[in-house]
């Protein structure tokens, strides 16, 4: 074994361990300082991408801004959906973005993978419709085999492109491993479930335009749901996620529910392998921030209530004077004129 070969394999091992978390690309969301990703060199400097993703970045430079936007969307939505739970989707400024929780095969990881692959599909589709991308819909699936696809038969939906891009960018790491380990299978499944959350919630809208506007002629199209809706759907799937284990059917490995009495999961359901920690205590090694210092709801019996949120440690109550906006005058954008109103509220924080 030559020293060069040894070095190279060592490098590969380091790379592999570094990129052990396939959601590292989400770090893109943190890179607001980079500006727009418009040069090939930028791709290599981007933290969190694996080699295959860097290559994709170089080939699809114009799409990368949308990928970053998708990552931001996903994180914002995750934090919104989990704002009342012990694990509130808080991000760290280091890799991995969500701490170690997501590197294990937990429910939380399932949600993060799903929402992030949905975020990319969503953002890329949006960018298509606003004209930011050149090669959406039309060039990939030209219908009718005519060279003038758009003029002959129009283009296929942009969502098809968005989903396909999300598939090739987000799934690439799992695919490169050959999709054999159960983590890879779980991630792939949840990525797909995230995209299905968009695809299966597309709204069909129709417009009639026959004689005098009658429905003699009618054209229908599919409109993407708002991302909040996608988040809600996935949160529901999170609550009903299925715990699975690997099993072999023939020579292919598949995931089946651990409890055989449960209904097998569908394409749209989230699956997880490991149960989650309780997220109560500060544990930096595992990236758990703990719930101490979190606000809680004294009257609620649910997970946002002080009892559960504070894991029985009790809570402080402070009276704080807050300045709220009231009797506001709004424009549809940008301008808000309000009077400040002072109010004293009780704030409960976990010990």
């Amino acid at each position: 074994m030559s020293p060069e070969y040894f070095l190279r394999s060592l490098l590969l091992i380091i790379l592999a361990t570094f990129s052990a978390n396939a959601s590292n690309w989400l770090y893109l969301a943190k890179l607001s300082s980079v500006g727009s990703i418009s040069e090939e060199e930028t791709c290599e400097k981007l933290k969190g991408l694996i080699q295959r993703q860097v290559q994709m970045c170089k080939r699809n430079l114009e799409v990368m801004d949308s990928v970053r936007r998708g990552a931001q969307l996903a994180i914002e939505e995750c934090q919104y959906q989990f704002r009342n739970r012990r694990w509130n989707c808080s991000t760290l400024d280091t890799l991995p973005v969500f701490g170690k929780v997501v590197t294990q095969g937990t429910r939380e990881a399932a949600f993060v993978y799903a929402i992030s692959s949905a975020g990319v599909a969503f953002a890329v589709t949006r960018a298509c419709s606003s004209g930011e991308l050149d090669k959406c819909g039309c060039d990939r699936t030209v219908q009718g085999g005519s060279p003038q696809g758009f003029q002959w038969s129009g283009c296929s939906d942009n969502i098809a492109y968005g989903v396909a891009f999300s598939q090739s960018f987000v799934d690439v790491r799992e695919r490169s491993k050959g999709a054999s380990s159960n983590r890879a299978l779980m991630n792939l499944h949840n990525n797909e479930a995230g995209r299905k959350a968009i695809l299966n919630n597309m709204r069909v809208e129709c417009k009639c335009h026959g004689v005098s506007g009658s429905c003699e002629f009618k054209t229908c199209w599919k409109a993407m749901p708002p991302f909040r809706k996608v988040g809600n759907v996935l949160k529901e799937k999170f609550d009903g996620a299925t715990e699975v284990e690997q099993s072999e059917i023939g020579s292919t490995k598949v995931l089946v529910p651990k409890n055989s009495q449960f209904k097998p999961h569908t394409d749209e359901d989230l699956v997880y392998l490991d149960s989650s920690p309780d997220f109560c205590d500060h544990d930096l090694k595992n990236g758990v921030l703990g719930t101490s210092g979190r606000q809680c709801n004294k009257t609620s019996k649910a997970i946002d209530g002080c009892e559960l949120m504070c894991c029985g440690r009790g809570f402080h109550t402070d009276e704080v004077e807050v300045v709220e906006r009231c009797s506001c005058k709004f424009h549809w954008c940008c301008s808000v004129k309000c009077k400040p109103c002072h109010r004293v509220v009780e704030i409960h924080t976990c010990r």
């Binding site: 936007r69 919104y80 949006r126 298509c128 419709s129 606003s130 004209g131 930011e132 991308l133 050149d134 959406c136 039309c138 219908q143 009718g144 005519s146 003038q148 758009f150 003029q151 002959w152 038969s153 129009g154 283009c155 942009n158 809208e205 417009k207 335009h209 004689v211 005098s212 506007g213 429905c215 002629f217 009618k218 054209t219 229908c220 199209w221 409109a223 708002p226 909040r228 809706k229 906006r325 009231c326 506001c328 005058k329 709004f330 424009h331 549809w332 954008c333 940008c334 301008s335 808000v336 309000c338």
Partner: protein, 516 residues
């Protein structure tokens, strides 16, 4: 039928809907009055806003924001083969506790449309208008702090309609001016995005459609000429039914004549309106024909043979089509001047439009009542005649049998055509638009449109072919005296039936029998 499926596998779907997301541009100039076009993308694109949070932090006002949409999307061109473009607008309005959408909120859009044919040309304005649209929004979840950020469920609004696509590139700039004193664009919630959907006819479908029309025109024209020659060869004047069939042929030809070819070379925005008028005339003719056909086969003792005899039935058709014509002129006619206009956007306009449509609907119902009643009468007379058929003389029997056969035959093919139309219509409304047949994809809608169109052409063709007066014994009619006309008609199974009596009939029929 195989022909129709062939078209379905070859032609693309009739129309395409392209979603556009507007780009939020900042109008950096201080003076808004000078028009300057803001491009959403491309080399000279405007200064963009990612979202409105950015606008707040940069202290940009609502009046400085322009929503820009370029049609089509990058690296594509529009084409005259698209025939028409229509756009709907959809507003994404987010719920905010303290910035709720007012009830019956109205949004004021300052819109302008421009075109150019070369990427390096300047934009030329086509239209500019200030339009008011009513927002129809609902909110699915409870209006609590928890559901802040969710979007209202808003109906899409009509935005623009153009009857020709003569240019390669179009640009839409939308402003939402705010004026608190006048209450303009106040209380419309927090607008997150403006989306447009553009609908146009597919170029491939247009070509197939044109080809079909170009092929059908001469075939109907030839049969029409043949039919009219047959009639002029008769010594008598043409009867009402013959005239109506001929008029039906004319209105079919009127639809068929592919004047749309001109839209490829000329910017004729009135083509859409013209198409509506042509279709309207055909429908009115077809409905009148059915009434008159029934009337002329009534086999009672009334002499009709005049249009004025049918005023009760044809009246509703005339009133109904006139109403729809006025409505269409108010909508698509005004759109020739202002493509952003829609009659449905104002209170008065909506009421007016509804009034026209309701009157037309009542007329249609009235018509169908009359038609059903007439068909019922005919069948009653037929059964009456059928029971007395064996007792009749052979000539009379043949005559009535001919009439009955003729009526039933038309009844059958009309019902078949109507049923086919209705079935195809329902199928096309229910299914997704295309079916997979092995590895062939069949576009149901284009197959449906071409199929139904071809079928009604065939219907008119068959009418003229089968109901043309026979030329075989027109020469003999002259010698038959005053009853000659009637007898001639009856034998040739062409038209109006009046009282049939006298030895001439028997004589003639008998002679004909003998000849055959």
């Amino acid at each position: 039928l195989p022909c129709v499926f062939h078209v379905g596998s070859f032609a693309p779907s009739p129309t395409t809907a392209v979603p556009y997301m507007s780009v939020k541009c900042i109008d950096v100039r201080k003076n808004h009055h000078k028009t300057k076009w803001l491009m959403p993308w491309g080399p000279n694109h405007c200064e963009k806003l990612k979202d409105f949070d950015e606008a707040v932090s940069r202290q940009i006002e609502a009046n400085d924001i322009v929503f820009a949409v370029h049609i089509p999307l990058p690296s594509k061109e529009m084409s005259p083969w698209f025939q028409f473009m229509l756009f709907i607008i959809q507003l994404d309005i987010a719920f905010k506790m303290d910035n709720d959408l007012k009830e019956n909120a109205e949004i004021t859009l300052d819109v302008s449309l421009a075109y150019r044919d070369d990427v390096f040309d300047d934009w030329e304005e086509i239209a500019h208008a200030v339009e008011i649209r009513k927002l129809k929004c609902t909110f699915g979840s409870p209006k609590t702090l928890d559901s802040e950020g969710r979007h209202y469920d808003c109906d899409f609004l009509p935005f623009m309609e153009i009857g020709s696509v003569a240019h390669k590139y179009y640009l839409i700039n939308i402003r939402l001016p705010v004026n608190e004193r006048k209450g303009i664009n106040v209380g419309i919630g927090e607008i997150k995005d403006i989306r447009l959907v553009g609908i146009h006819q597919n170029g491939g479908f247009t070509k197939v459609w044109f080809a079909m029309k170009t092929f059908l025109t001469p075939s109907i024209l030839i049969i029409m000429v043949w039919y009219w020659r047959r009639i002029t060869l008769m010594t008598r004047a043409p009867v009402l039914l013959e005239k109506v069939i001929f008029a039906l042929g004319i209105s079919m030809t009127f639809i068929n004549i592919p004047v749309e070819w001109f839209s490829i070379g000329f910017d004729w925005t009135w083509m859409l309106l013209f198409g509506d008028i042509r279709q309207g005339i055909f429908y009115a003719m077809l409905l009148s024909f059915w009434i008159i056909f029934c009337g002329e086969h009534m086999m009672d003792q009334n002499e009709r043979n005049r249009l004025s005899g049918y005023w009760k039935q044809v009246g509703p058709i005339a009133v109904g089509s006139f109403c729809l014509f006025i409505f269409d002129m108010c909508e698509r006619g005004v759109q020739l001047k202002n493509p952003f206009y829609s009659i449905w956007t104002t209170e008065v306009g909506t009421e007016l439009a509804m009034a026209f449509i309701i009157v037309a609907g009542i007329c249609l119902c009235l018509y169908f009542l009359f038609l059903c009643f007439m068909v019922f009468q005919v069948f009653r007379n037929i059964s009456g005649k059928q029971s007395s058929l064996p007792a009749m003389s052979k000539a009379r029997r043949l005559h009535y049998e001919g009439l009955i056969f003729r009526f039933k035959f038309l009844m059958l093919i009309t019902l078949a055509c109507a049923a086919m139309t209705v079935i195809f219509f329902i199928v096309s409304q229910v299914t997704e638009g295309h079916w997979k047949w092995g590895d062939i994809t069949i576009e149901v809608n284009s197959a449906f449109f071409t199929g139904i169109y071809g079928m009604w052409n065939l219907y008119v063709f068959a009418l003229m072919f089968l109901y043309a007066p026979s030329h075989k014994n027109y020469g003999e009619d002259q010698s038959n005296g005053d009853l000659g006309v009637n007898s001639g008609e009856e034998l040739q199974l062409t038209t109006t039936i009046t009282h049939v009596d006298g030895p001439t009939e028997v004589y003639k029929l008998a002679r004909k029998e003998a000849q055959e």
